[in-house]
Amino acid sequence: MRPLARAWLALVLAFLYVPVAVMVAMGLNASPLYALPLHFSLHWFAALAGDDAILLATRNSLLVALVTCVVATAIGTLAAVALARPDLRGRGVLQALLLPPIGIPWLISGTAMLVFFSWTGIGRGLHSMMLGHVALATPYVVLVVGPGLKALPPNLEDAAKSLGATPADAFRSVTLPLLLPSVVAAALFAFAVSLDQFVISYFLATPGVTTLPVLIYGAIRSGFTPEINAVSTALLAASVVLLLGFARLAGVGGFLGRR
């Protein structure tokens, strides 16, 4: 039974990874025509550094992701803290309202945002992408930080207050340091959500102001070069690192390293 189980697992992993592996391999292949055998080369990566459009899109992606990460983490963490208060009225409703945005198809969110931003005069561009990404990432932050708060030992803030700490001081000196792994995990997740976001960015991009996923999509429509494999590989690597960091800190996906 055991060899069979192992073979099955290998098949599943192959199913998950083969397309991605081919893309990575072609990004490292010297031939522009996907010719085999593979000749290892960093030529396409080197070419990225000279491509102004790609550099600009990368800069935009990182900028939007960074702003999204900081803002969504702050908003989401505070929302999670508010939701954890024992005297909060209507907690069930408020908590339930945080979930649907995750389930709304991005195409619908994107359309809604495009309509709303045009109607209110906010318009399109990096600033509206940031708004859209923050709205998208905040529920995830609440979902990650909430259980972290619940896992804290009881009465810690009460103990701090009995020792003379104001509520703000108690939160800052006791709760926040203990919650830090969850907050950092949520921040990494928010960064990854923004970095990988395509649909909403596509709707809110303007000619010339674009992010990496939108640029990649545009590039494959107009003609596929191995350069796209290289830039995709870079984006893939960034996402994998972010998600592994998240998994390690949030204690999911088989990483049980959390203290």
């Binding site: 030992p153 009881p154 009465n155 810690l156 009460d158 103990a159 701090a160 207050k161 009995s162 020792l163 003379g164 700490a165 104001t166 509520p167 001081d169 000196s173 006791v174 340091p177 203990l178």
Partner: protein, 350 residues
């Protein structure tokens, strides 16, 4: 050294009343236990005194100063929680320093005070440890040190020993009493453990359904319970239902005397008799005091003492607790005579 006064405090959570017009005075330098079953309101009363809950009605005074609207962090209290609530990301020393820093004591002065307090709870040398590296009893000592290092006006303890095993709990009871006496600290101690309340306190207050049903010195409350609830929650008691006469109480045709004042003849009366106050004889020899024949139904031998379960003639079940100085000759099914002094028949409210 200041006292705590609670006057007319009521509190409900939603539609559920938890405290009903509670008034109590906690004397300066004394240790008072709030004893009651879960749901009796004892923890809520403690949290109102601490300032974590606001009473719906009534007031709290610490040292004569009304603190009903003063937030916790300005009340200058010390509190020990059932879960200890030590800060896991700080060392023992940092935990103890936390309150000192919040009250403006800093630097070497603060460290000297923290060390002296850790010595007082016999935890000198543990300063650099984290709470997770300590045993339950040691964590309890850190929690106590952290609560008393700031010189609080009152020390509040919420079932602090309930997570410890029996031996450690007894050791900590002695320690707690020693420290409380050394510092002469007004202390309020919430517990559901009657033995703990008796051995530890200057005063025991028994709570039931949001009211203090009786309070006083442990011996006073134990020897003269005023209600059936107080008699059965603090210790064991036998209850005998009868009818009042001019001389005593008639229980299934026998006159039982009591030292307590009796209601008008003819009214129903409940007598409480502690199991250890009752003597057990195989012959009707004990003439003085109250006597009641009964049949031995079960004998629970526990080394130093035995508990006898007996049935009186009217079917009332009784417990008798006897030290095994001599092994009593009574056997299962045997008819015996129970006897006790009139002073040990306590009239209680049913």
């Amino acid at each position: 050294m200041v006292g705590v006064d609670v006057a007319g405090v009521s509190k409900g959570f939603g539609a559920v009343p938890v405290l009903d017009d509670v008034s109590a005075a906690f004397a300066p330098g004394m240790l008072t236990s709030l004893l009651g079953p879960s749901g009796s309101g004892k923890t809520t009363l403690l949290r109102i005194i601490a300032g974590f809950e606001t009473p719906d009605r009534g007031s709290v005074r610490i040292g004569g100063e009304t603190v009903t609207d003063t937030p916790v962090w300005r009340r200058q209290i010390g509190m020990v929680f059932q879960s200890y609530a030590l800060f896991p990301h700080m060392t023992v020393l940092q935990n103890v320093l936390f309150g000192l820093h919040r009250r403006g004591v800093r630097g070497t002065d603060a460290i000297a005070r923290a060390r002296a307090t850790l010595d007082l709870v016999r935890l000198g040398g543990f300063e650099a440890r984290r709470p997770a590296q300590l045993s339950g009893g040691q964590q309890q000592r850190v929690a106590l040190a952290r609560a008393i290092v700031t010189g609080p006006r009152v020390l509040l303890l919420d079932e602090p020993l309930s997570a410890l095993d029996r031996r450690l709990r007894q050791e900590m009871q002695v320690e707690l009493r020693r420290i409380q006496r050394t510092l002469n600290l007004t202390t309020i101690f919430v517990t559901h453990d009657q033995e703990e309340a008796l051995t530890l306190s200057d005063t025991v207050a028994i709570l039931d359904h949001g009211r203090i049903v009786q309070s006083g010195a442990p011996a006073e409350v134990y020897e003269r319970p005023r209600s059936r609830f107080a008699a059965s929650f603090l210790g064991d008691a036998n209850f005998l239902a009868g009818t009042a006469t001019a001389d005593g109480v008639v229980v299934s045709g026998r006159l039982l005397r009591t030292a307590d004042p009796l209601p008008s003849p003819g009214s129903a009366v409940t007598l409480a008799v502690r199991p250890e106050k009752i003597g057990l004889d195989t012959a009707d020899s004990a003439a003085d005091g109250n006597t009641l024949p009964a049949i031995v139904q079960q004998i629970i031998y526990a080394g130093a003492a035995s508990t006898f379960l007996l049935a009186a003639e009217d079917g009332t079940l009784l417990r008798v607790f006897a030290q095994n100085r001599d092994v009593p000759a009574a056997a299962l099914g045997q008819r015996v005579v129970l006897h006790w002094a009139p002073a040990h028949s306590v009239v209680v409210a049913a």
